[in-house]
Symmetry: C2
Subunit: 146 residues, 2 copies
DNA sequence: ACATAATGGTTTCAATTCGCAACTGATTGG
DNA sequence: CCAATCAGTTGCGAATTGAAACCATTATGT
């Protein structure tokens, strides 16, 4: 029952082993936007049903989704766990990157807004001192390397 | 030559169509950490070489990597474009999610640090008013829906 | 200079995964 | 009761993956 990680000590790689595929992340996206049922996920993502079955199972096994009885009686539903909801920053940065780089100028797309309908501001990495961080100003410290 | 998007008006889906697979994102991760050559990418990620060939081509076609002549003479190298470097927040949030949820308590992993060796702080989504945002306080506004 | 190793792929082939459609069996809804 | 919807499962051909072998160029060591 031991998982065989692609790169066991890299958190990026581990995260990708759990959710690093298109359908998994689209399911998470839709779960964040209120989808709960098999059919709803299927309609929103357009994924093949057998693949959806597989992804829901995986996400549940990974602890990102939980299956519980729907409030309205006897059917089951899938809801995000805390760990699943915690992917919010990942989905958000993907969305913002997509807005910046995956649309032609002037091409329209959906937007994430807060309760008042105000667009969510860009999420920018900053250091402890408030300075903006990027690939040039950071590096990976490997385990056991001080 | 038209791309056939999974969900054309969703920036998340478009982003995933471009980089939503394990190897692409691991290549980007390593490019951010200084990898430039085919062999270097292969060694760091452990991906099969034919797959790496494919991913480097795709990432280049998508405008995330560019192929240019290495400073040291005649060999070619792959470098991140601006769009590629701009994935930094995505990789960072994936990393931070992984650190929080993909390791057992006490299990060690690599860390991202700034120039001075200080760990990079958590990236948290906030609204225009500075309040923390999550799935409960945001929603997707679809195109053409005011 | 010459042998050896490393680089940057391509090719081959088996195994896995994907996507589509049809089918099943429960569960509402009228 | 009948029809529609839900939540999958099954079967199958097509596409993708992964491992290994092969190959033509560069470097490197002596």
């Amino acid at each position: 029952m031991e998982r065989d990680w692609t790169d066991p000590e890299c958190p990026v790689a581990r995260a990708l082993d759990l959710v690093g595929d298109r359908w998994s992340l689209l399911v998470v996206r839709d779960a964040m936007d209120g989808a709960r049922s098999f059919t709803e996920f299927q309609r929103r993502t357009g994924v093949a049903r057998n693949i959806l079955t597989d992804r829901l199972r995986r996400l549940t096994a990974a602890g990102l989704l939980a299956q519980r009885t729907a409030p309205s009686g006897r059917r089951q539903e899938y809801v995000l766990t805390d760990a699943g909801r915690d992917l919010f920053p990942v989905i958000l940065t993907l969305r913002q990157w997509g807005e910046r780089h995956a649309f032609a100028p002037g091409e329209s797309h959906s937007t994430l807004v807060d309760q008042h309908g105000v667009p969510v501001p860009e999420l920018t990495p900053t250091g402890a001192d408030g300075a903006r961080l990027d690939t040039a100003t950071t590096r990976v410290r490997k385990v056991g390397t001080d």
